[in-house]
Amino acid sequence: MFTQYIFHFLSILALFSAVMVLASKKPIHSVLFLTLTFFAIAGHYVLLNAQFLAVVHVIVYAGAIMVLFLFTVMLLNLNKDERSPKPMWVNIIAFVAGGMLMLTLVGIFREYDVKLIQDPLTTQIGLVKNLGKILYHDYLVPFELSSVLFLTAMVGAVLLGKKEQI
């Protein structure tokens, strides 16, 4: 009963802040609303009994990626709205493309039969112990491969960022 109220609150918060990301005039407000969206989604993870996922979500997205976004927006000082107004045809094309994407998404989820594999309120899969066992036992190779992928991306970024010749 109580969790239902929290669910409604979080959903409204997530949707509202997601809309505000697009509706805000200042880029910095958009970034902050996006952060708020991430917090609302982290709250949903807690409701699904996946505390580990929730905390990692906050650490990675709100704590690292969004701070980087905030940095960029602040240092470029995008606050002054100097963007030139876009021509009409760009707006029309953007509207049509966005509408088509939405139609596709609606089409997918209308036909998709949502099955609950386990009851989300009692499942223990999101707890760190079970998740760790699955990641490091059943899915060890994909897990390690993805970490190598991230390492490659990191080395690549450092290489591109270096000014002098190597």
Binding site: I28, T35, I59, V67, M74
Partner: protein
């Protein structure tokens, strides 16, 4: 259910009031310690031994003129200090303050939330701690404030890495992310500091950087940046920023005592045969003493060491602390593997 809610409400309000009172009196103790180090008296005019000084300071801050730069982003300007204060108060929820109380025969833990990912929760709070400073510094629309905010956030992000790496060894040793479990395993004199001295040292240094305390107080470096990220703040908004720093000091002391100094455990204390409630109280006082010890170290270092230069700060974090922390993780892994 009702009983549970009432108990948790009382407990969390108690911890809230405790953090605020401790932070208030830390300001007085800090000035007394500074006086002692510089061979003078420190504040002693307000009440006996200056005991009413924090109240006088608070009243002064409340009645100061409220100033807001005309070009500031109004909402974010107010959000900055509020967020800093809010985030500073969040961490105390997962710290176990003592062994279980016994109220009407029901064991009631002295911990607001026993989440099984307590350590990660603390890291999540740490990583969002940047927001208050960044938002405040940017919203002031002032060069010095922006520079201070950028410095603060890059410093906090850099030292977060070494801090997390130094904690991983504790997690490897205990095999749990729950604060309660970590304290339980340090019972008696099995304190983690004896097994992880290097990890403790790295954590201590990073804690100084994370709380923006000297010698890492570059974000508010007066000699270069006027006042850093809070240059444009006055009245109680400035008070919130300064106050949050003292709360952070208290909480980081509590985290360090919990993770490395055995939390509320003291050798021989559980063999005295005290009744559960007295035992809980004495254990809480033990933890409190350890936190006070860390508070003194914070002040001791502030009044004896000069400030780092910015490039020295970054060099220390990235080139010394992080490799050392990784080495510590590898050594701990090898030792655990050999002992299996």
């Amino acid at each position: 259910m009702i009983r549970y809610i009432i108990y948790k409400t009382i407990l969390s309000s108690f911890i809230l009031v405790l953090s605020l009172v401790v932070a208030m009196y830390s300001t007085l103790i800090e000035r007394k310690v500074a006086g002692w180090f510089q061979d003078r008296h420190g504040p002693n005019r307000t009440g006996p031994w200056g005991l009413l000084q924090p109240f006088a300071d608070g009243a002064k801050l409340f009645f100061k003129e409220e100033f807001m730069p005309i070009s500031a982003d109004k909402f974010l300007y107010i959000l900055g200090p509020s967020l800093t204060m809010f985030i500073a108060l969040l961490t105390s929820a997962v710290i176990p303050w003592g062994p279980d109380l016994s109220i009407h025969g029901v064991a009631s833990p002295l911990q607001v939330a026993d989440v099984n990912i307590g350590i990660l929760y603390i890291f999540a709070i740490l990583s969002i701690g940047v927001y208050g400073i960044m938002i405040g510094g940017w919203a002031s629309n002032n060069k010095y404030a922006l520079l201070g905010a950028v410095r603060a956030s890059s410093q906090m992000i850099s030292y977060e890495l070494a801090m997390s790496l130094s904690i991983i060894t504790i997690v490897m040793m205990t095999g749990s992310l729950s604060m309660r479990e970590i304290v339980a395993q340090q019972q008696g004199f099995h304190w983690n500091i004896f097994f992880q001295p290097l990890g403790f040292l790295i954590f201590l240094i990073c804690a100084f950087a994370e709380t923006n305390r000297s010698p890492f107080d570059l974000p508010e470096c007066e000699t270069e940046l006027v006042g850093g990220y809070h240059t444009e703040y006055s009245s109680m908004k400035l008070g919130f920023y300064l106050f949050a720093e003292y709360i952070n000091m208290f909480i980081s002391g509590a985290v360090m005592a919990t993770l490395f100094l055995g939390g509320y455990h003291f050798p021989g204390l559980d063999k005295l045969g005290l009744s559960p409630n007295v035992f809980a109280f004495v254990s809480f006082m033990v933890l409190f003493t350890k936190i006070t010890f860390f508070g003194f170290i914070y002040m001791w270092i502030r009044w004896t060491l000069p400030r780092f230069r910015y490039d020295q700060l970054m060099k220390l974090g990235w080139k010394n602390l992080i490799p050392l922390a990784i080495l510590n993780v590898v050594i701990t892994g090898i030792v655990i593997l050999l002992n299996q």
